[in-house]
Symmetry: C2
């Protein structure tokens, strides 16, 4: 990969982070990359294509970073810990902000939608694997849909990032609130086999009733 391409890709992610999708332009990206503005179009054709390339590179890099950590998660408690670490870290690096701005722009642009779908799929498959593993021998095994839950977790990260931008205190409280609710799942998980079987039948009934 040429130096200029790389510089443009990095400047684009940085631009999404700090200027947002509304403030991103070929001019601003080129200036940030200290590269001639015309090179944006020489290398990437159009702005959406550059954004696609940049966000794709960002998500590929970031997902790799967490692959090992994800593989070592063995309990819900650990998942929460890694989740909070990931949230804090990705929030300060701005990677979630990039994803949020991408998704905001994706609502009106087909190419950005494709890029957003790719990003969510990459994160989703990582998260899903962890959830699936953790749920395998839990009384919740039949109740939880790992793929759906993974999508929800991704959506929560995006939503919380945007929420944090307008109300950081509230976003902290929101994180704490789910953590405490997840403890509930943990408690259920730790129930004895009798209680666990009773719970399972109740859950079956409850799902059927819906």
């Amino acid at each position: 990969m040429t130096d200029t391409r790389q510089k443009l890709i990095e400047a684009t992610a940085e631009g999404l982070r700090t200027d947002g999708i509304a403030g991103l332009s070929a001019r601003s990206v080129a200036a940030r990359a200290e590269v001639n503005q015309a090179l944006v179009f020489y290398h990437f054709g159009t702005m959406p294509e550059l954004i696609q390339a940049a966000t794709r590179a960002a998500v590929d890099e970031n997902v790799i970073y967490y692959r090992e950590q994800f593989a070592q998660i063995g309990s819900l408690r650990e998942l929460l810990e890694v989740g909070r670490e990931l949230h804090d870290r990705e929030h300060t690096t701005g990677n979630i902000a990039v994803m949020a701005q991408l998704l905001a722009g994706a609502q009106q642009d087909l190419l950005l939608a494709e890029a957003g779908r790719y990003a969510m799929a990459r994160w989703g498959e990582q998260i899903e694997a962890v959830v699936r593993r953790l749920m395998a021998d839990s009384p919740l095994a039949g109740v939880v849909d790992p793929a759906g839950l993974a999508s929800m977790i991704s959506a929560v990260f995006i939503g919380l990032e945007l929420y944090d931008g307008v109300d950081p205190v509230g976003s902290r409280a929101a994180l704490d609130a789910v953590e405490r609710l997840v403890v509930l799942v943990d408690v259920v998980d730790d129930l004895g086999p009798v209680a666990s079987r009773a719970l399972r039948s109740r859950l079956k009934k409850a799902s059927a009733a819906r």
Copy 2:
């Protein structure tokens, strides 16, 4: 309120919905409102101020619409029902999309951040009241922070809206997944007093350990 002001306010919400924050401009809004472009600045001064006025009006109107429905929610099951209805309805009307685009822009603009904070506060206080009421006589009363949970629910709506734009199937699965998890809370809620007391002590221990 003059006719022109009203037209501009409505056109702004519509523009956020269909063009996104990145595609919104004084010219596009004025065209949509079939109003002279200079009137945007005569009536509102700057674009962010117009966006603030428009999103404020939108959230005020929409919150009122749900106030009655929220007041009638008496169980978690009903909360889920209203929640799904609200999500479906607000998603099709595009009101959540407006909020999502507002928050995306709010990350880079102080005035929009203020508008976003206002919107999240209005929704938050409504949701919090419901959560607080439902949790009052539940074994989870001490475990759940109503305000935090309300913030989380708001964030989920925003995140899910953006997620839906790139992967509608995944967003459906995500919604289904939490619904099934909430059933878990419902089951715990329906436990007898003995089991409930046992659970409460377990939860206390679990929270303390954190």
